[in-house]
Amino acid sequence: MRGHQAKLDISNGCIDLSHGSGGRAMAQLISGLFHEAFGNEWLARGNDQSAFDVGGGRMVMTTDGYVVSPLFFPGGNIGTLAVHGTVNDIAMAGARPLYLSAGFIIEEGFRLSHLKMIAECMGEAARSAGVHIITGDTKVVERGKADGLFISTAGVGVVPVGLDLSAENARVGDRVLISGTLGDHGIAIMSKRQNLAFETDIISDSAALHDLVAKMVEAGGHGIRLMRDPTRGGLAATLNEIARQSDLGFRLQEEAIPVKPDVAAACELLGLDPLHVANEGKLVAIVSPEVANAVLAAMRAHPLGCDAAEIGEAIADDHHFVQMATSFGGGRIVDWLSGEQLPRIC
């Protein structure tokens, strides 16, 4: 802004309404904070959109809003989550993530130092995932009309030729693979909520899964029917959705489902089922029985899949139930979460 503006006071400054009003303060915030954090040739051109070349073929697009509270949590923050989550939704199509957009809705009073930290983490997460944040938007709302910061990211990626992963593709007999332990993210978040606060070393599993996916596609090819990241609603919601969309059921083996002991303990404490708790760096893959072992081996060879496991299979079921043989020896179903996830007394 060519010196016609006091510098952003990152250490003590706060967002106020002028940072969202289309004036000089907003331009300064965007160029002085976001462009610096995300720095790339597309943003530098300063257009309301960014252009890129594509080779043709099949692309995917996705979006997610991030409203996590607290904004900073063990293992990440809203910014890393906003990159990983959207990269993962692209990767779940077997696609290579290319470009992200990022929209910020900021409550007035938000500390610039926090915003900078979050933006820098996003930039770093994007760089390590090999994606570029090429376009964005900033809105500021009055105090009491947001919760500090919301981020929306959208992303596009390119699908390898011939691959078509989709929720209706599961077939009876397919195997259910999970890339690692369940519930780490949700429990890490809950441990920092004031009304629940408990002490734990659990950290969020937030991670970009595109490289793991690439290795799985390499190993399993067309034997991979679909992949999905079990985020909100956990594994239970993901499998119930797929069951409905593919018109079948699942039978899981509880013993095979990896859950860290401290996550299990925190779930007991709060009366929650780890199958309902959110993950941000895990995927479920439904694969044909023929490639199950090869895909599982590829997963276990990857740092983000070392705890991968085969946990069940698709069965014919007109009612789309996700059944589970309990580790105790009985049977049950794994249902959707009913309503919100609330700690229970009974």
């Binding site: 002490e199 734990t200 070393d201 303990a265 007394i345």
Partner: protein, 72 residues
Amino acid sequence: MCLAIPAAVTKILPDEMAVVSIDGVGKEISVALIEDLAVGDYVIIHVGYALTKIDPEEARRTLDLLRELSVE
């Protein structure tokens, strides 16, 4: 009813409070309902309160009995 789980006492705090651990998960609870508590004791906790100490001897006996029943 009444979700409650066993936890090991790791620290006694003032004001009838204590820290317990459940497989490494720490939680501050009230022990206002318990007498003669020591670090290392297991208690049953419910809504942030210890309801009672677990008797380790009785627990062992119950398990022994279960094993016995199961091999019969």
